[in-house]
Each structure stands twice: as structure tokens, then as C-alpha cells.
């Protein structure tokens, strides 16, 4: 499979504990004939491949995977883990992403064989526990958002968005308006998944500018509202971390033209128990359980993006949904006018269960405390950074705020990117940079509620020190990470998407 000499498997070359050398790939650790796999004794007759597979389908040579010892596999993955920052190592103030602490009790809650070893196609009699759990979660999510019913199928926020847009279509379609309503409004500060989902939902995006307070420009909104509008997608607090104070007026205006309001729940962490999208006038809400409800992000996923709706949209929800019969047993029920299935099975079930364990642990009181502390932390940090960084919309924020390195760039040459890389050297993850797009040199900071005042102070201190530092240091950063700044341009220019595609000279 490869002619390169296998590299040293037991060597911690890549463990940062041991220096800054790189970790060989699994393929480089591979040595022909080496093996980890083993199989149970089954007593099944040992027919050969030729006896089992028609010749036309049988491959000539084994599929090359890798040939490593279990010992080397373990060391490889352990060393890779040492090259990875994570919430469990330190603060992760990545705006919009809500990188809060993920309680360990949730890991254990979902580890039970009674949840993990349940086949998705098993008859309902065998899955009553799961169905009860999902129904309980659905009910709680409706209470939290002020909605009537929900689907747990969407496996992430973006999938929830698309689900919501398809619900919109179905709703307007039922009213015979599907052809006419072509546009969906989204603010210019919106997350990229919003416009992308609008396209996939078969709609056109109409952008709504923000006003100088960072909120939806009401006049501009009015201009764009017409009876060809299917709806509007908003997040509140918005991506600047600001609460759309005029949300009731916005809802009124959109509803006025027959449009629906979609709530992007990525920022729900700010308002738990304070207010509910349903109260604000939203019709459809997705939640990122991997943000607000502490499902760990797993390096990029899995998440869960349930969608909750008002009662008039409930008949269109994806199915099947777990519903309690009057006798108390649960059944899978297809909503009357369901838009259909969104996921192969029932969504990211174990992630859903984790979120439910988190909600149970917090309870109503604990969830409210989440938002209290999240908002307080953000505001406190904003106060500390004032004067050092530009705060383009410097008024009370919710759970996050956007700072800017515009002035810093002018005076010292330090860009948002450099600030981010310098922060890595300080033992913190970087904020989100260059988002939202309407703020130049944006640094979007979301401390989350699980960071202590002491951690916040250290973070503020680091950010202030970084700003006082030279631009040169900034450009050299990070100098203490497993690798220095990576050449992103080269990665795109000379695409090496697999180890097999590596140019020989590397």
C-alpha cells in the first residue's frame, strides 16, 4: 500500500509534551502484515470469498486500510488528542458557538446499554423508553421556546433551518400561495447557514440591512415586505449579541403581509427563562442543542437541531413523531400534512438524550441562571475591553458581543486574525473572527456562563496585553502551539485531500 518506511509508532514525537515534531499518519505507522483486529469464535462455516461473492463483484486485492498494532493506534490517537484544544482544557470564547462546559454526568447518562443498544427499526414495544425520552424532551423544548410542537429529527442547526423553510413552504402551499411567496428576508448580520438554507428551501434571499444600533432597520424592512415574502429568518439576540428590541413590531409587520417568522435558535443561551421566541411572535424555531443545551461539539459535530412550531404549523412537521396514546404507550405518528422525513431515522438520538439529561439537571431554575450568567459575563468582559478595542455597538449586550480590531490595525498593524493567534499563545481559544460580516476586523466574543470571573479577568488581561504588544509579535503568533501559522493558501492551491494524494516531495 505504501513504499515509505513505517515511522516509529511508540515515539511521542508529536506529543506537545515532548516538543513540536509532527505526528506521522496512520498510514505511515503502517507495516505490512501488522494487525490489531480479532474476531469472536462463531462456529459458522468458513466459506471463501469466492464461494460467497459472484466473481463479477469480488475485488481483486484487499481494500487498503492500514496495518498498525493496537498499541500504535492507541498512541497515535492519544498523541493527536494532545494536539487539540478543547473546552476541557481551557476557555473557548468563540462567538456564536457557545462553547460552554459540557457536564460529565451527561456522558454517563447516555452510555447505558438500554439506550445505546436499541435498534432504530425495532418495533415500538421495544423502544418505549426512547420514545418517552424523546417526547419528554420535545415537550420541554416547547416550554422553553413557547411553541406548540416540535420535531427532533434535524441533526444540526442548518438542517433545522432547512426544515423550517420547508415547513414555511408547506404552510404557504396549503394556502395556495407557494408560487407567489418567493422571498425570504434575512438581516445582513445573519449566519451563513441562513442564506444557504433559504436557497435549498427554494427561496430567494432578500437581505435586510442593520441600522446604526446593530438591529434590523425597520424602514428598510418595511421597504422589503410584500405579499411575495414567505417569511423572515432572525436570531434574537442577533449575531451582534444585541436584542432586537423592536421584535414585536417586526413580527407584526411580517405577519401583516402573511409572512412567517423563523427564529434561528443559535443564540438561545441568552434568554432561557427570560423570554421565549413564541412570545416574541415567532412561528418556527430551531434550537442548537449542541450550543444552548451543552451537547459537546465533538470537533465539529454531531449536534442536534430540533424545530419547534406554533400549533398552526404542527400538522406539517416531519414524521414520524413519538406520541403518547391515551393508554400511556408511545406510538410513532405521522403528522397529518407532514413535509416528510428529514433524517434516516429519528435524528441524532444520543445527542438528544444528552441534551435532555442537561435540561433535567439544570431544571427551570438552572436554565435561567445559565442566561443570567452568560449575559453578565459578556457585559462584564465588554466593559473591560472598552477603550482597548473598538466596540462598534457599545451598549448592553446579551450573551456575546462583537469587538473590532479596526483601530488596532491602523495603529499597530494588528489584525483581528493576529489577535486571535496571539490569544492561542495565552492559553485561550480565539474568538470568532471576521463574523458577522457587517463589522470590520470583527472579534466576536462569547465567554459563556461556565467561565468564572477569574477566568474572565485573565482573558480580559490577555486581550489588553495583546493590544499593547507589537504587530510583529502578532504576526509571528502562535509560537507555542503544536504548529505555527498554517499556509491556508497552499492547501487550496495544491489540494492534498488524502494521504494517498500527497505529492511525493512532501
Amino acid at each position: 500500500m505504501t513504499t515509505t518506511q513505517p515511522a516509529a509508532g511508540g515515539r511521542a514525537t508529536s506529543a506537545p509534551l515532548m516538543g513540536r515534531e509532527s505526528e506521522p499518519t496512520l498510514f505511515e505507522l503502517s507495516s505490512p502484515g501488522r494487525i490489531s483486529a480479532n474476531f469472536r469464535i462463531t462456529g459458522v462455516p468458513e466459506w471463501t470469498a469466492e464461494e460467497l461473492v459472484p466473481a463479477a463483484h469480488l475485488r481483486d486485492t484487499p481494500t487498503p486500510v492500514a496495518e498498525v498494532s493496537e498499541r500504535d493506534l492507541v498512541a497515535h490517537m492519544t498523541r493527536l488528542s494532545h494536539r487539540q484544544f478543547s473546552v476541557d482544557l481551557g476557555a473557548y470564547p468563540l462567538g456564536s458557538c457557545t462553547m460552554k462546559y459540557n457536564p460529565k454526568l451527561c456522558d454517563d447518562a447516555v452510555a447505558r446499554s438500554g439506550l445505546a443498544d436499541v435498534h432504530p427499526a425495532a418495533p415500538p414495544a421495544m423502544t418505549q423508553g426512547w420514545m418517552a425520552l424523546l417526547a419528554d424532551l420535545e415537550s420541554a423544548l416547547c416550554r422553553i421556546t413557547g411553541m406548540a410542537a416540535a420535531t427532533l429529527q434535524p441533526p444540526a442547526g442548518a438542517a433545522g433551518e432547512l426544515t423550517g423553510l420547508l415547513l414555511m413552504r408547506a404552510f404557504h402551499g396549503a394556502a395556495g400561495e407557494d408560487g407567489r411567496r418567493r422571498r425570504v428576508l434575512i438581516p445582513d448580520s445573519a449566519h451563513g447557514t441562513n442564506p444557504a438554507s433559504v436557497t435549498l428551501g427554494g427561496y430567494e434571499v432578500t437581505q435586510v440591512p442593520s441600522d446604526d444600533r446593530g438591529c434590523v432597520d425597520l424602514a428598510a424592512l418595511a421597504d422589503r415586505l410584500d405579499d411575495d415574502v414567505a417569511g423572515i429568518m432572525l436570531t434574537n439576540p442577533n449575531t451582534l449579541g444585541l436584542f432586537e428590541e423592536d421584535i414585536v413590531a417586526i413580527a407584526g409587520a411580517v405577519h401583516e403581509v402573511g409572512g412567517l417568522l423563523y427564529y434561528d435558535g443559535a443564540n438561545l443561551n441568552a434568554i432561557l427563562g427570560v423570554t421565549r421566541p413564541g412570545d416574541m411572535g415567532f412561528d418556527i424555531v430551531h434550537m442548537n442543542l449542541h450550543k444552548t443545551f451543552a451537547v459537546p461539539h465533538g470537533g465539529g459535530g454531531p449536534g442536534a437541531g430540533p424545530v419547534a412550531v406554533t400549533s398552526r404549523l404542527a400538522p406539517y412537521l416531519p414524521g414520524p413523531r413519538p406520541v403518547a396514546t391515551p393508554q400511556g404507550a408511545y406510538e410513532w405518528v405521522e403528522p397529518e400534512h407532514s413535509i416528510g422525513r428529514i433524517h434516516s431515522w429519528h435524528g441524532n438520538a444520543l445527542a438528544l438524550a444528552r441534551a435532555w439529561s442537561y435540561i433535567l439537571a439544570n431544571g427551570g431554575d438552572g436554565l435561567r441562571r445559565v442566561s443570567d450568567a452568560a449575559v453578565l459575563n459578556a457585559n462584564w468582559l465588554r466593559h473591560q475591553l472598552r477603550g482597548t478595542y473598538d466596540i462598534p455597538y457599545d451598549r448592553p449586550c446579551m450573551h456575546e458581543f462583537v469587538a473590532s480590531a479596526t483601530n488596532l490595525k491602523r495603529t499597530t498593524g494588528l489584525r483581528a486574525l493576529d489577535v486571535a493567534k496571539r490569544l492561542l499563545e495565552e492559553g485561550f481559544h480565539a474568538p470568532t473572527t471576521y463574523f458577522p460580516l457587517i463589522v470590520e476586523e470583527a472579534l466576536m466574543i462569547e465567554p459563556t456562563e461556565t467561565e468564572s470571573p477569574q477566568t474572565l479577568a485573565a482573558l480580559a488581561d490577555a486581550l489588553v496585553r495583546i493590544a499593547a504588544d507589537s504587530g510583529e509579535n502578532g504576526r509571528a503568533a502562535p509560537r507555542t502551539a503544536p504548529v505555527g501559522r498554517v499556509d491556508e493558501a497552499r492547501a487550496a492551491r495544491q489540494l492534498v485531500p488524502t494521504w494517498d494524494a500527497r505529492p511525493a516531495d512532501l
Partner: protein, 440 residues
């Protein structure tokens, strides 16, 4: 219980230092009319031990597969042995509690793991590129169709009924938004019977298909090429240990459900959408792609690349809306498949095929049990039973078996049965005995 570290004193001090006197003032921007009176309508928080009690109760109300409920169900979700290394490595907290690798310098762990995962997916499927995962098999298939539609600028998509029916349902749900037409292609004795002519954007075939049959992928590929469409193959990563790869048979895009490697059954999720394609489609690849590059000192490094395809940059023109994917499941896939290795993957596939043949032959020896279709199968098969399939499933549960998955009307009913490497001949014999009893 909550996870806010602040003491009341600290909260008060922080509030004062920013000129506020109460927590409520933090929410001044929220109009009074919108404030939730009385708090959330949820029970108060529970202690960790009480959450465990609740979850024990949920778990106890399920019937998990295992020694007392032996699994012969598959249909896209397979009961394979997962080696201990998966839980011990993929679930290390550095992988579990990291975000998407936006800062590559401190995310080389996840990035390199994904790079290796991409390499493995390409090796399994015989393709040039694979992305860093999608939600599940169905969503990968949706993205493949979208890619084909965008690339061919055509709107008809031929979908075999051999494709998992739930995937087809998801395709149908999503097609309402994207606006292409799904053309239902029937099975003939277990194999897709393609129209001879047309202008398909893509031909979508699964092999082994839903009924377990091996499709003629090469022929589908030729047809697609001759008609100017793309060939999308839904493949099984386990069967990849024995079958000629879809890529080498002409597939433009290969998708699959990655669950068999590293994911427990878990009522269907989180699983793993595998997505791979030929190089020429890379600019339309949905989702994240990790590439190799170097750092400022010339050391090998990894980074997400060709990012202009993605929603955060391309917005409404992005190739897909996916953002959060299933990275952790991809890491688990890497560990499981890495542990199996070259020889182990083949052995695994072989063992599944052996158990399948052993079980199938014994079942077919039962009076009244007949093959549903005639095409050759590999690791899953369907039978017609003298008693309705759902009744068989019900009765077999009492005997301690999850007998399989009852097929719907569109397949002419029948029972779909999967035998993995986990099943011993003793279990299979007991299953067959019980089967004989319940279909009498």
C-alpha cells in the same frame, strides 16, 4: 444543579462593577411585555444521581439488543462488535469538547484525524476526495443529488427502489426545496431496472441494495455516462472489504452510512454520512474538506480548505448549507476501521457474508419460507414468510430475537434479515429453530 461557577457574591460584585444593581437590569433590552413571568414551566434541577435514576428508568423501558434479544435486524443499522479502543480513543475529551477546527494551529488533532478519515473513505470507495462527514447516509445522498443537479444543470434524478426507503423519503422531502424531480425506478427480482433513455442528472443506485442484492454498478455507470448524467452509488463500508469499489466501476459520487464503524445502534443516531467523489467535483463538494499543507516553519500541517464552497463564505450560493457535521463519528470510524486494518476489514466482510449464507440456507429450508427475490446477496437478505413479517417480528421477540425488519408493501412485504460477524452459529441455529416455530 447548574453549572454556573459564580457565587452570589461574585455575581453581585460583577454587576456593581458594570454599574448595574440587579440581574434583571441585564435584560433591560427585552421589552417588559415579552418577559416570562414565573420562569420556565419545567421542574427544578435534579442532582446528578437523580438524573441517573431517570435515565435508568428510560433505559429499562427499552429492550436493547444483546444476549437476551439477539439482533438479526439491519436495514441500514448494523449490530457489529465495536472494539474497546473506539470508546477509549475517539471519546477522549479533547475530541469530544472541541469545536469545528477554525484555528488550525490548536486543532491539528481533529484535523489530522479527519484527513486520515478522508483517506480511508476514499480507499473504501475508490474515489479521489471525501469530505469530513455529513449527517447520515440520507443527507449524504441528498447532497450527492444536489451536486449532480448543479453540475449537469438537469432536473431529473433516477432513484432506484433499491435505495433505502427512508433515504428516498428524505430525498423527496428535500426535493421540494431544490425543485428537481425524482424518478422512481422499480426493482426486477431484486435489481434496478433502469429506463433505457432519458436525461437524468443522476442515476442513484445502492449496492448491496436495500434487499441485500448486489447491483450491476458498472452497467449503471455506463448508462449514466451514455446519457450524460452522473452515477451516484450508495455503498456499504463493510461490504467494501469484498466488493470492487464503486469508484473503479464508474461512480462519480459515492455516499454511504458510516454507522457500522464506530457507532452504536442508538435508535438511529448519531450516525455518519459518508460522501466521496471524483476530483473534478471537488469545487461542488458539500461540507468541510481537510487538506494537507505546511506551517511557517515548513512542518506538515492540516487545515480545512476550499472553504469558499461553504455557507459561511459563499452564503446563498454555497454548495450546501451544512455547518455542524458528524466529526466525532468520523473519528470513531477512523479508530474502528484503523483497528480492523486491511486484513480485518476483509475478514469482517467475509464473516458477515458467511453468517448471512448460513442463516439464509437454514431459513430457506423451513417449509413456506422462500426467497423474496432471486438476485445474489451478500450481507443481508429478504424472505417471504408464511405468516406476515410483522407478526413474525412480534412472535420472535418473545423468543428472544429481533428477527429483522418487516418490509413495506412496495417490496411485496417480506422480512429483511441481517447477520453480522457477531452472530455465532449457536445463535443462528436458535434463531432458525424459533423461526420455524413461529411461522408454523
Amino acid at each position: 444543579m447548574h453549572f454556573v461557577p459564580h457565587t452570589d457574591a461574585e455575581l453581585a460584585e460583577m454587576l456593581t462593577s458594570i454599574g448595574l444593581s440587579s440581574i434583571d437590569e441585564l435584560f433591560d433590552a427585552v421589552p417588559a411585555a415579552l418577559r416570562l413571568a414565573g420562569g420556565l414551566d419545567l421542574a427544578p434541577g435534579l442532582a446528578e444521581a437523580d438524573v441517573a435514576v431517570c435515565f435508568d428508568a428510560y433505559a429499562a423501558a427499552n429492550r436493547p439488543v444483546g444476549r437476551d434479544f439477539v439482533c438479526f435486524a439491519g436495514a441500514g443499522a448494523y449490530d457489529h462488535d465495536i472494539p474497546s479502543v473506539v470508546g477509549r480513543l475517539a471519546y477522549r475529551s479533547e475530541f469530544v469538547t472541541a469545536y469545528t477546527p477554525y484555528q488550525p494551529e490548536v486543532a491539528q488533532g481533529v484535523l489530522q484525524a479527519l484527513f486520515e478519515y478522508q483517506t480511508l473513505v476514499c480507499r473504501l470507495f475508490g474515489t479521489d476526495v471525501a469530505n469530513a462527514s455529513l449527517y447520515d447516509g440520507a443527507s449524504a445522498c441528498v447532497e450527492a443529488v444536489n451536486l449532480a443537479v448543479a453540475s449537469t444543470r438537469r432536473s431529473d434524478v433516477w432513484v432506484s427502489r433499491g435505495l433505502h426507503p427512508q433515504w428516498r423519503q428524505v430525498l423527496a422531502t428535500m426535493a421540494v426545496g431544490t425543485g428537481h424531480d425524482l424518478v422512481d425506478v422499480a426493482l426486477d427480482d431484486g435489481l434496478s431496472s433502469w429506463p433505457a433513455d432519458g436525461q437524468p442528472a443522476a442515476i442513484v443506485v445502492q449496492s448491496p441494495n436495500y434487499l441485500g442484492c448486489l447491483e450491476d454498478v458498472a452497467a449503471a455507470g455506463e448508462l449514466a455516462r451514455s446519457l450524460g448524467g452522473l452515477l451516484i452509488v450508495a455503498a456499504d463500508p463493510v461490504s467494501a472489504g469484498l466488493l470492487t469499489s464503486p469508484g473503479s466501476l464508474g461512480a462519480d459520487v459515492v455516499v454511504g452510512e458510516g454507522q457500522p464503524f464506530g457507532a452504536s445502534l442508538s435508535l438511529g443516531g448519531p450516525y455518519l454520512g459518508l460522501f466521496a467523489c471524483r476530483k473534478e467535483h471537488v469545487r461542488r463538494l458539500p461540507g468541510r474538506l481537510v487538506g494537507e499543507t505546511v506551517d511557517t516553519e515548513g512542518r506538515r500541517a492540516y487545515v480545512t480548505t476550499l472553504r469558499t464552497r461553504e455557507q459561511d463564505i459563499r452564503r446563498e450560493k454555497a454548495s450546501s448549507n451544512v455547518c455542524t457535521n458528524q466529526t466525532l463519528m468520523a473519528v470513531a470510524f477512523l479508530v474502528h476501521l484503523g483497528w480492523l486494518g486491511t486484513a480485518g476489514l476483509r475478514e469482517l466482510a467475509l464473516r458477515c457474508a458467511r453468517g448471512t449464507r448460513y442463516c439464509r440456507e437454514a431459513l430457506l429450508a423451513i417449509d413456506g419460507v422462500e426467497p423474496l427475490v432471486g438476485a445474489p446477496v451478500l450481507r443481508e437478505f429478504a424472505v417471504r414468510t408464511p405468516v406476515a413479517a410483522d407478526v413474525v417480528v412480534e412472535r420472535m421477540a418473545e423468543e428472544g430475537f429481533l428477527a429483522g425488519v418487516a418490509l413495506g408493501e412496495e417490496y411485496g412485504e417480506g422480512l429483511l434479515i441481517a447477520v453480522t460477524e457477531k452472530r455465532t452459529s449457536g445463535e443462528i441455529d436458535a434463531y432458525v429453530n424459533a423461526f420455524e416455530k413461529v411461522v408454523r
